[in-house]
């Protein structure tokens, strides 16, 4: 314990409670030394202190600088009024500040001919800005001037610009000893020597700490927690999903975000008049408007399949329209096409079944609200093999979701590109929450009969999984467009 601290505790042990003035007199300590010692004792819980507060106002460094001269925008309009300045010369940091505020306050106009004063600006150049006056008065007059300005807009501006600060400053009135202080003093008497405060390099090398006591801190006193830098919770989930797929033997694939309607819809047997292809549901692009479909043979086959099945004309122009993909099946589908083509030429090229997955952003033309987003993540998977069955599909989906800690069940559903179609759902409270669509890809898409190759496919959303697993996340929209506060509040457990 420091000798100043000991001196204070000794007096207080006798008197229990003293006002600060008396304490200084009794110990013979100066104000700074006494304050320092009391605050140390206070932080260790050895004394209680009574502090009486009052509000004070002060100028910051920047504020003081301007108060001594003038506000940058005042300087700017003064110079402008004197005809001294042109826009190109305004390059310095302070000039930029001057420009922003002058513009904001409507003092200047910036046109083709450069910078000029507005009517308001000319008036202010003559009379001086009220903010400038206020800053000078506060600098000179302290609290009286502050009392005059504290509730008006001028002060708010100065405060926002960080030219003035205000804080409650406490005055130490009385100090009294606590039970802990009494004990500390007693143990200090026993050890009979000074305790070590902070350990440093020289103490380590000289071993002066040996045989001495370290000053005990109040380890239960509150501190402000450090903010841990973290990855985004959704990114962590995406990586967990990737790991789940990889552990089941799936290979990761990627593909274009911006694609032709052909790969997003037509190849997947979505009729050109399907409501999901409408302007209401899908974003179309004006740049690029169209994208070329290179595989001419495939275009021919898809045209035939569509016209046969949907009894209406298939237009290649419609298929060329560029869209940001609406699902990840455009990516897995493209791979599936390549793989099937290869297998037909070289049957032994792949070990069957081929298992692929792709996680990425997809887009829907939604009205954005707490439930809907225009872009979000999907995690499509596909299995290409011989004689794969609906029972196989259920098996792989159950495994994938059990890895993610979610129990799922299946019911029939309809999606144009699968037959049979499946909807996976989970129990959520008392209700069923639909999770995603799945099924066996139609022959019209694969171009081969099911007795030679069949394809199982599914297209879940990632955000749904996140919502199910973390009750604290109230909505899908809250996962994006976030502030750091949200991220910091997320548990990583």
């Amino acid at each position: 314990m420091h000798r100043h601290e000991r001196a204070i505790l000794e007096i207080l042990k006798k008197e229990k409670k003293l006002d600060f003035e008396t304490l200084m007199k009794e110990t013979g300590l100066g104000k700074d030394a006494a304050m320092w010692a009391v605050s140390n004792l206070f932080s260790r819980g050895s004394v209680e202190a009574i502090i009486e507060g009052k509000e004070i106002v002060a100028l910051t460094e920047e504020g003081k600088k301007y108060a001594a001269n003038e506000l940058p925008e005042q300087k700017l309009i003064r110079k402008l009024a004197a005809g001294e300045v042109v826009l190109d010369e305004l390059k310095g940091n302070e000039d930029q500040i001057a420009l922003i505020w002058a513009k904001k306050k409507g003092l200047v106009e910036i046109g083709k001919k450069g910078i000029s004063l507005t009517e308001k600006g000319s008036k202010a150049a003559k009379e001086g800005l009220p903010e400038d006056k206020a800053l000078k008065e506060i600098n000179a007059g302290g609290l009286d001037a502050y009392a005059k300005y504290k509730n008006n807009e001028i002060f708010k501006e100065l405060e926002k610009r960080k030219l003035v600060t205000r804080e409650g400053k406490g005055e130490l009135k009385e100090v009294m000893i606590t039970q802990h202080g009494v004990l500390e003093l007693a143990s200090d008497m026993q050890s009979g020597g000074e305790e070590i405060e902070a350990l440093d390099r020289s103490m380590l090398s000289s071993r002066v700490w040996a045989g001495k006591k370290f000053k005990a801190y109040n380890v239960e006193a509150p501190v402000e927690a450090k903010e841990a830098a973290v990855r985004h919770p959704l990114r962590n989930l995406i990586n967990e999903i990737r790991q789940a797929y990889l552990s089941l033997g799936f290979t990761e694939v990627t593909g274009p975000v911006i694609d032709s309607s052909f790969w997003v819809f037509d190849y997947l047997f979505m009729p050109q008049h399907h409501p999901a292809r409408g302007m209401q549901d899908t974003f179309f692009l004006s740049r690029p408007r169209e994208l070329e479909i290179k595989d001419r043979e495939l275009v021919k086959r898809i045209k035939e399949e569509h016209e046969k099945a949907w009894h209406s004309e298939w237009s290649e122009a419609t298929a060329r329209l560029a869209v940001p993909r609406t699902h990840m099946t455009s990516v897995t589908g493209r791979y599936m096409h390549e793989i099937i083509e290869t297998i037909q030429k070289e049957p032994d090229k792949y070990e069957l079944p081929v298992k692929i997955f792709s996680v990425g952003r997809v887009f829907r033309n939604e009205n954005i609200d707490f439930k809907h987003l225009a872009d979000f993540y999907q995690m499509d998977g596909m299995m290409i093999g011989k004689q794969l069955t609906l029972a196989n599909l259920f098996d792989v989906l159950l495994k994938l979701y059990s890895r993610l800690g979610i129990r799922i069940s299946f019911k029939p559903s309809f999606f144009p590109y699968v037959e049979p179609g499946v909807e996976a759902y989970t129990k959520f409270g008392d209700s069923e929450l639909e999770l995603f669509g799945a099924g066996m890809i139609r022959n019209e898409i694969t171009g081969v009969k099911r007795n030679s190759l069949s394809v199982l496919a599914w297209g879940p959303g990632v955000e749904r999984v996140m919502l199910l697993r973390n009750e604290k996340i109230g909505s899908i929209a809250s996962m994006y467009n976030t502030n750091i506060g949200w991220l910091r509040s997320m548990s990583m457990k």
């Binding site: 985004h232 033997g249 298992k355 299995m383 794969l388 309809f414 991220l487």
Partner: protein
């Protein structure tokens, strides 16, 4: 997806047996119909593929089969006299070539029956008919028509449209009527207008509006239905579907004749396709072992008549099913009838090792380094607008970026070309949070190269705090560059989003791949960022 609404009272009447909501909804769910919303009076179901379920009678029919309350599969139609013939003229071919129809007799129309008929005919034309383009239909009181009928494209003439008192020209209907403006283009070409006529004149301007003369009312007992469109298959199958619906409503349906000039034939044909599938194939696709007798029962549950042909099953597709294309659809129906809950999962034997994308792994490692440097990760939308992406960043927009043609809001008009604006937006929304704030994003940005989209991965990071300066961001970037062994040079550069003289370009092989520096105060102010901020952004695909 279109929503179909069903009146529960009418549904109960058509089902003809007592059923509680829970049982009904469970059965509908097992049939693949997911209920969006249910109230005391109505059920909303969302689907697209089954036109036969757009009507309440159609839903009642399907539920009855599924719950084994009905095994009646035949829909019988009668035959009208030969004067009930529609003669198709030569001008209609290029506009709307095909017509079908049917006659409905012995109706006793209550208010709710009339509502049901209007509801499902309207819904059919809008959804299956693709807003009347592929198919549309019209209803006429049989008392008010005088066969034979003529279907052709005529020159402009007059008639009294439905709900009007005065005569109007076809051309006026196109311009002056809401439906005319909406559907007019489907029935007009070179000043000829598609119409259905009888001996007394215009019955309907197609596919827009009927005549007042043939209006259907509560007192109508017999009715002629016309169905027109651009696909013969679609309109003739629609006739089959309507026939089934009217028969299920308790009415009599009879055929009429259509003559394209090559001899008249009767419509509706009431033909259901036959599809034969080996039982083994079906079991193999579903992954179950269903026996012969059971398959036939399951087929019946879905409304198919089925019979055994050797080791194969022959299914007769119900005449009203417009969605069954081939055996895949039939197998799905059998699987649905079997019940997905009863299909036991079977693992696929496989020995492959999963492989991640190397690039994805690399990006994850970069993310980890950024966290190590004290930055937290943000995820932002790929969609943005010119104000955020360019203007607030003090940049001019050129035309080498990807734009949305049909934005619903002004906030989403383009794909972002860089990530820094997203992060500054995040900062602006975080001003009440504890400083310092260090955040990064590692994700996609987009631009255009000769009209081809260029998709790339960027890394951007910012730090916002009182007293941060150029050196802080340069130190952070170089810490990262060292870990990634990026051979880059940091050179003096100009970028409008940064403070002049406090911005550097990042160069790899003398090529600019990014920037770092102190963000310009005007940029900060426009995003609502109240403390100095430094940051960097690089194109990871270019290093």
């Amino acid at each position: 997806m279109p929503i179909s609404k069903y009146n529960k009272k009418y549904l109960a009447e058509k089902l003809g047996f007592e059923i509680d909501d829970k049982t009904l909804f469970r059965n509908m769910g097992n049939m693949g119909l997911s209920i969006e919303r249910a109230t005391k009076d109505e059920i909303d179901v969302e689907f697209w593929n089954r036109p036969d379920l757009l009507s309440t009678v159609g839903l009642a029919r399907a539920v009855k089969y599924f719950m084994r309350r009905s095994r009646e599969f035949d829909y019988k139609v009668g035959t009208e006299e030969s004067k009930f013939v529609i003669n198709v003229g030569s001008h209609v071919g290029k506009i709307r070539p095909f017509i079908a129809g049917l006659v409905v007799r012995n109706m006793q129309l209550r208010e709710e029956d009339l509502l049901e008929i209007i509801n499902f005919t309207e819904k059919l034309s809008e959804t299956y008919g693709v807003r009347r383009e592929l198919m549309a239909l019209g209803l006429h009181d049989l008392r008010d028509v005088s066969p034979p009928f003529f279907y052709d494209a005529y020159e402009d003439e007059e008639f009294i449209p439905l709900n009007r008192q005065k005569r109007m020209r076809y051309s006026e209907v196109m311009k002056g009527d809401e439906r005319g403006r909406k559907y007019g283009a489907l029935g007009e070409k070179e000043k000829r207008y598609v119409a259905l006529k009888d001996a007394r004149g215009t019955m309907s301007v197609i596919p827009i509006i009927n005549s007042e003369r043939t209006r259907i009312t509560r007192t109508t007992t017999d009715m002629l239905v016309d169905i027109t469109g651009t696909s013969k298959y679609i309109i003739e199958k629609t006739a089959d579907l309507l026939a089934a619906n009217f028969i299920d409503m308790g009415y009599d349906v009879s055929t009429i004749l259509v003559d394209y000039g090559r001899g008249a034939y009767a419509i509706p044909k009431m033909e259901g396709a036959e599809i034969t599938i080996p039982l083994e194939q079906m079991n193999k696709e579903i992954g179950v072992a269903i026996g012969f007798n059971n398959v036939i029962l399951l087929a019946n549950k879905m409304g198919y008549e089925a019979s055994l042909v050797g080791t194969k099953i022959r299914f007769r597709v119900p005449t009203y099913r417009l969605d069954v294309i081939n055996e895949q659809d039939v197998i799905e129906d059998v699987a649905v009838a079997y019940g997905y809950d009863y299909i036991q999962p079977i693992p696929v034997p496989a020995t492959q090792v999963g492989k991640p994308q190397a690039k994805e792994e690399e990006r994850n490692r970069i993310g980890e380094i950024m966290v190590g440097l004290g930055y937290s990760e943000m995820l932002n939308s790929y969609l943005t607008n010119e104000d955020v992406n360019f203007k607030k960043m003090r940049l001019e927009s050129k035309d080498n970026y990807v734009t949305i043609a049909n934005p619903k809001t002004e906030t989403l008009t383009m794909l972002r070309t860089w990530l820094m604006p997203s992060l500054l937006k995040n900062l602006g929304q975080s001003m009440h949070d504890k400083m310092p704030i260090s955040i990064f994003e590692l994700d996609m940005a987009f631009d255009l190269h000769v009209n081809e989209p260029n998709e790339k991965y960027h890394l951007a990071a910012v730090t916002c705090n009182a007293g941060v300066n150029f050196n802080d961001v340069k130190a952070a970037f170089e810490g990262l560059a060292e870990k990634l062994e990026i051979k880059c040079e940091v050179k003096k550069a100009d970028h409008k989003s940064f403070i002049e003289g406090r911005c550097a370009g990042i160069e790899v092989n003398q090529k600019n791949v990014g920037f770092l520096g102190e963000i310009h105060p005007e940029v900060l102010t426009s995003f609502g960022v109240e403390e100095p901020t430094v940051g960097f952004e690089i194109n990871l695909d270019a290093i």
